[in-house]
Amino acid sequence: MRIGVFLPQPWRGGMLRAVQAFCCELLRAADRLGWDVDVVLSVCSNTYLRDEITLDDPRLSVRETEWIPVTESEMALLGINKWQPQMPYIRPTDGGRDFMDCSLWVIFGAYFTPAGLLAPLRPYYVYAPDFIQRYVPQIYGNKIDANDVSWNITTALLLTIRGAEKVLVTTPKTGEDAVGYAGAAPDKVVLMPLWSIELIATGTPVPQGASRSYALWVSNSTPHKNHLCAIAALERYYEMGGDLDTVLIGPDTTKLSPLWHRRPRDIKHPYWTRVADRIAETRSVRQRLKFLDEVSDEKYVSLVSGARFVWHNVLYDNGSFVALEAARLGTPLLSSDYPQMRYICDLFSIPARFFPPVEIEETAKALRQMERDTGEGRLSVSYRMPDHWQQWIEQSFGELLLSHASCARTSDNWQVPDNNNT
């Protein structure tokens, strides 16, 4: 049995880590079942360096892929009578057998370029990371335009999810969105454990008497990270007499700095300019906010360990592992209140504090309160891995393979190719 796992966009970071962890877990599950499974990882052409994909298993191969439109006659030729001319169909091509040697396709975040609906040439599962565009439509640009290609890609995503055999999600709220926003059937949505969690090394403990004079703001440069409200809240916090510096880390966060914008740059995203202008016109924030951009793992550990608290300010996403990392390093967490983050904190029993992300006064008060409480040492930090965590992961991946096998048996259109034939 061969399974194709697709990463249709040149994502790095969390998504790349998740897809690699997924392949590993899939192979492990096959080992446990005693099945002969190999995995083909599809990535965009000319995107990743050789060492970026770290998996070293002979049963895993990597193919560079392009996505091309499918015509009606091609569909007829393949004997698939599912043509619905509602959007153009697309399919992957690797220059060879075009993944038709796989009995199952697993699509990670089905955002296809060019925009198109995935042709049902093989049964497929979709991993839906989140549906941020439902909650923060500005993520595709401040001025919302239905003709923007991003929205066409979104429509194709939703319809692709609707046609999937299974929709894999890692939080219940994203599962709700898969049903309520994408229109997937509820019985097709599968809640998976957070399989890509890497428990970071705790590193050297923070020396006693360290000043812990800053709050660590972990972010990136996209609009759903709520920078404008966060800066307004910081301004209010400093007006209230807040005494902590704020250290901002994360990919591309330097681009939000007014200093970065002083020099002529090739690309200046309008959103970055707005945030930088907002910071520039706020004296207190300008002076107390430090930009460190993306930092190494060691530096990250030391920054989290040395912070008074970690501030996670996001309008909406699939939750962040920063909660677990902060708890592991003994730093309290102040997070914006949204269901995914609540779920993660509940799952790992992390005593985080929450604030409404768009209420500036509330946010500022929460920051101030956090500063006071952490200063007085009133906040305890702890976490607990859920019981049978590893079993849950093993069981989920085992069930994925089993459900695929049963689906393969019942399907008329195709058969599970015998490994010897492929």
């Binding site: 619905q84 909650y135 923060v136 066409n152 429509t155 709220k173 049903v179 059937a185």
Partner: protein
């Protein structure tokens, strides 16, 4: 001339009702509250062997057919539609109201006529750098060109002529469009007046009609009908809520109401408030001409769940594959999204109303946006009003477009009865946020009867029917801000089950009144009107008098 009456047409008996329909092109009774009311009365009247004939202008041919499809099969046998007997006037197409023609497919030009690449190839042969073989070919080709030169010249001339003509036709089309834009309205008005004149003449020739039923008090051409008339008076909404409408439109509607009132018909109101505040005070209609007939609750038959789900899926797939999209947002996003959407899996708030300024749907949409984006509630809003993404009117369409809500606020307008019932069936809750209603909203019975609780806005009509405790439990202030309304919606959805139990009990009490009874009251009014018309001595003396708004209010 004394007409010999058939035996059934004795005093107090109505055997045949004529229903006057006066709608502009594109409008329909399907999905309208009045349309439902007329359907129920006609169905029940037909159940008593009373014939009903609709009189409608020719442009409603298709819409009336679709409307009648919703009627009970037994009733449909006794219902007829009378149009004027004539061909569609040629000017109708010019008026811009005819169905738009499909754009003709452009014919592909045969490749041999595409002379440009041929000419380019020939020119290449004669350039000095051309290789010797090319020169040789040119030497052979040159005599051939000379021999066939008249033919080549003729074909080039033909191409030139064709282009000139195409340009000329294109200019002609533009001119025609310009003229149509400017004078089409005048043409439409001319045809409209002529059509109604003809329809009135046709109607007045029908001696078998006992009584005329006019479902809208603004359909003023009905004043020319000679027989007795019974007219519905749902409300004069501008007396309550005039903002959002053009002043000239309000004046025109008022004039039409007055014109019909001058012919002294009987009027039926659905609430005491409208009878007093609108009919009497605004229009000075005498009390003796006014009747108050409350609605009975509309109860749909509960569909079987598995069939219902499939039926709704099939309807959406067919409808949004065939429906013509006018904008990119519909073509690229909304229609593909709706085509395979299984609403039975979704949690949605259903609003069954047209989108008029006083219906307050915009505020509800804002509240739903807040529910989704601030409270992270997984919910959708499904409307039956038409959203116009071309003109972005009403403002709700613009709101949806500028806030990327086209997957969360959906409009499924002009649905047949069985689909309407299914939309109620699968909703989390039904909301009717209107500032004003002429009668107790139908949505209450329709929704609760199908197992979905209903939240109503507090207004004169609901206050007249519901008790104080019911008002507190099932209604909300329509002036609530979107922020407050979002909280009310959340709370209502949380107590969905208890609300449904209470409302079902209430509906049971309300269901004591049936549509049979309502129809009896209507028929008795028709009979009164018919009797009065046949017996001049009993003709009522109190006539309509024109009342100006200020005096009327005083």
């Amino acid at each position: 001339m004394n007409l010999v009456r058939p035996p059934s047409r004795s005093l107090g008996i109505v055997a045949h009702i004529g229903i006057w329909i006066e709608l502009p092109p594109g409008a329909t009774l399907l999905g309208e509250g009045i349309g439902q009311l007329v359907r129920l009365i006609v169905e029940n009247a037909c159940g008593r062997d009373i014939k009903c004939t609709f009189f409608a202008p020719f442009w409603l041919h298709n819409t009336m057919d679709r409307y009648l499809e919703d009627f009970e099969p037994t009733a449909r046998k006794l219902v007829r539609v009378q149009y004027t007997r004539r061909l569609v006037p040629l000017l109708w197409r010019f008026s811009g109201h005819a169905t738009a023609r499909r754009p003709r497919k452009r014919k592909l030009r045969p490749t041999w006529l595409n002379w440009r690449p041929i000419a380019r190839r020939m020119a290449q042969l004669f350039v000095p750098q051309a290789p010797p073989t090319a020169m040789l070919t040119a030497l052979v080709a040159l005599p051939a060109i000379l021999i066939f030169s008249p033919l080549i010249a003729a074909s080039l001339g033909f191409v030139w002529l064709r282009r000139r003509l195409a340009r000329l036709f294109s200019k002609g089309r533009l001119l025609l469009r310009h003229v149509r834009n400017r004078y089409g309205r005048i043409a439409y008005e001319l045809i409209r007046e002529d059509e109604y004149e003809r329809l009135v003449r046709t109607a007045n020739r029908r001696t078998d009609i006992d009584c005329w039923f006019v479902p809208n008090p603004g359909w003023s051409t009905a004043a020319k009908l000679r027989g007795p008339k019974v007219c519905l008076f749902p409300d004069f909404v501008f007396a309550e809520h005039w903002t959002g409408f053009a002043a000239q439109d309000i004046a025109n509607v008022r004039e039409r109401f007055r014109a019909l009132a001058q012919s002294n018909p009987y009027y039926v109101c659905f609430s005491h408030y409208v009878m007093e505040a609108h009919a009497r005070r605004c229009f000075g209609i005498p009390q003796s001409r006014l009747s108050l007939i409350h609605h009975a609750p509309i109860l749909y038959e509960a569909p079987v769940d598995s069939d219902a789900r499939k039926a709704l899926l099939r309807y959406l797939a067919e409808r949004f594959t065939q429906e013509k999209a006018f904008t990119a947002i519909e073509q690229n996003h909304i229609y593909p999204y709706l085509r395979s959407l299984d609403l039975s899996n979704l949690r949605y708030i259903f609003v069954s109303t047209q989108l008029r300024p006083y219906k307050n749907v915009f505020r509800l949409a804002q509240a739903v946006e807040r529910l989704i984006r601030y409270h992270h509630v997984d919910i959708k809003l499904v409307l039956t009003g038409t959203l116009d993404f071309v003109s972005l009117e009403p403002e709700l369409a613009k709101f949806i477009q500028t806030n990327a809500l086209w997957f969360d606020i959906l409009s499924i307008p002009r649905v047949p009865k069985h689909v309407h019932a299914l939309l109620y069936r699968f909703a989390a809750i039904t909301v009717h946020p209107s500032f004003f209603e002429g009668g107790f909203p139908f949505v209450f019975g329709e929704s609760v009867g199908l197992g979905t609780p209903c939240l109503l806005a507090r207004n004169a009509a609901t206050s007249e029917v519901l008790s104080t405790s019911e008002l507190r439990s099932f209604t909300f202030d329509p002036y609530l801000s979107p922020r407050q309304l979002a909280i009310v919606l959340m709370q209502s959805m949380e107590r969905r089950e208890s609300m449904l139990v209470e409302q079902t009990a209430m509906l049971k009490r309300m269901s004591v009144r049936t549509w049979q009874e309502v129809t009896s009251e209507y028929l008795s009014l028709f009979a009164t009107a018919a009797t009065e018309a046949r017996n001049p001595r009993s003709r009522y003396v109190e006539r309509y008098r024109v009342v100006t708004p200020n005096k009327g209010a005083a």
